[in-house]
Structure formats: C-alpha cells, structure tokens
C-alpha cells in the first residue's frame, strides 16, 4: 500500500502500469486516432500532479479523470462547432421495435440478445466512433467506465442537465448506429453470430 506522501517516481510507475489497459481502452473509445498519445499525455499530467492523489486505491478513476481532461482540452483546441442533433431526428428510433419489425435473424428465438452478440468489440468501437464526440464521451464514461453523471458533468465542464440530455440523445443515436452499421457492413451475413 502506497501511503500519501510516498509519491516517488517508482510508486507512480507501479500504480500507472497497472492502469494502462483501462486507460488505453478508454482512449480508444474516445478517439479514432491518437489513443496512445492521449494516454501518454495523461500519464505526463498525472505524474506532475501525483501529489494530489490521496489514496492509491483511487488511482484508476484519478488517472481516467486526467485522461478525460486531456481529451476535453484536445476538443477545445480543435474548436469544432458542436454537433447537436435535432431531437426529432433521434427521438423516434427504437432498435427494440426495429428488430421486431425487420426480424434480421428469423431463426433466432432470442432475437435482441443474438443481434447484440453479433457485434465484436471492434464493431462496437466503430459504432461509437460514428457518434459525434459530444454524445460519445458521456455514453462511454457513464456506461462503459461507470462514472456518475455528476462526475461526467464536472469532467466535461458542462451542466448536469446537458449531460443528461446528451446521454439520452447519445443512447438513441447509438441504437440507430448499431442498426445502420450492421446493415452497411453486412454484419449479420458474416455467419458468425458470436
């Protein structure tokens, strides 16, 4: 156990090394290119502020928070205009209902379950990367990395209501993209329902 104050380079390396997979995969879900750079920049920042980490058991969330900060700063530097979607464009879509209506796996007794199983991790990443960043980031942080909505609001520096609205639209958009991606790539025709 590393106590506060025992903030040596070696203790940082030990803590950070254990978190590298989680950091890398989070970065891969947030950005299409440059995930490794994102992790390296986060490691640098984390090392510089290592003294602020109170407990080594909190190292994982702490490092992820720093990585999200780096990601947020990158977005700001790119100064892209927000890609807010009109509500009615995403609001009406239901993947649950679409699957029932279109029945893409007619021999399945567990259609919805089998449909999701057809997506490999790289497919899911591709689907996520099709979402505008402002929807993708809250979705990834909430449902894949387990951050609370209040924490996401703090990390992304937006009001809580904005996070909730983006989560809602992000979920709908994600469902829509799951359907579109499977259609476009012939995912279900690959014959490898996992």
């Amino acid at each position: 156990m590393i106590e506060a104050g025992d903030r040596t380079r070696e203790s940082f390396q030990q803590l950070a090394s254990a978190e590298l997979p989680a950091l890398y995969w989070l970065a891969r879900r947030l950005v299409r290119d440059g995930a490794e750079d994102l992790v390296q920049e986060a490691l640098l920042r984390a090392y510089r502020s290592f003294g602020t980490l109170r407990q080594d058991t909190a190292a994982g969330p702490w490092l992820k928070s720093i990585l999200v900060n780096v990601f947020r700063d990158q977005l700001r530097r790119q100064a892209r205009s927000p890609e807010e979607l009109p509500v009615d464009q995403v609001e009406d879509f239901s993947l649950y209902q679409t699957l029932i209506e279109q029945d893409p796996l007619p021999y399945s007794d567990t259609l919805h379950h089998d449909y999701l199983r057809a997506f490999a991790k790289e497919d899911v990443r591709e689907v996520l990367l099709r979402l505008p960043e402002l929807y993708r980031a809250p979705l990834v942080l909430r449902y894949m990395d387990g951050f609370a909505t209040k924490e996401i609001a703090r990390l992304l520096d937006v009001p809580l209501g904005t996070v909730l609205a983006r989560l809602h639209r992000g979920r709908k958009r994600f469902e829509q993209e799951l359907w579109t991606y499977a259609e476009e790539t012939g995912l279900l025709l690959r014959g490898t329902v996992r």
């Binding site: 590298l20 995969w25 992790v39 490691l43 919805h112 999701l116 894949m144 387990g146 809602h168 469902e175």
Partner: protein, 80 residues
C-alpha cells in the same frame, strides 16, 4: 389511500427507461413508469432491451494490451 399516478404514454415511458434503470428519476416519475409498465407489454420489452444494452456496453471493458502498445507505454512510463 394510495394516489394512482397520472398515466403516461409509451413515448414518455420509453424516454425515461434508461434513467429509470439508472435510478435517476424522481419518485413521481418512477411511479409513473412503473404504472405504465404494469399494463404495457411492449414497454416491458423495451425495458428489458435497455437493460441488455446497458450490460452490452458495460461488457466492452478493458482487455489486455496488444504487446507492442504495452511495450511502448511501459517504456514511456520508465522514461518519466
């Protein structure tokens, strides 16, 4: 006497399902969603699928690093 919540349409129930699963709805809204689910089979299906989707997203968790990425990041750490 328990007051029955005002009924909500399917569109409103579906809009709240993820927040309901997140336990992020007010007690009033929770009661409305539950009342709707008590008679709407389709929305029960939507709820079940929303739950599957949550599990699906959560299951995409971190794996082992590819060896070349691991080596580079470890090297970077060692150079700090």
């Amino acid at each position: 006497m328990t007051v029955k919540p005002d009924p909500i349409p399917c569109s409103e129930a579906v809009r709240q399902l993820w927040d309901y699963l997140d336990q992020a709805v007010s007690p009033d809204d929770q009661a409305k969603v539950e009342q709707h689910l008590s008679f709407c089979r389709q929305c029960c299906g939507e709820l079940e699928f929303a739950n599957q989707l949550r599990g699906f997203l959560a299951s995409q968790s971190a794996e082992e690093l590819p060896p070349h990425i691991k080596a580079r990041l470890e090297h970077f750490l060692a150079e700090l």
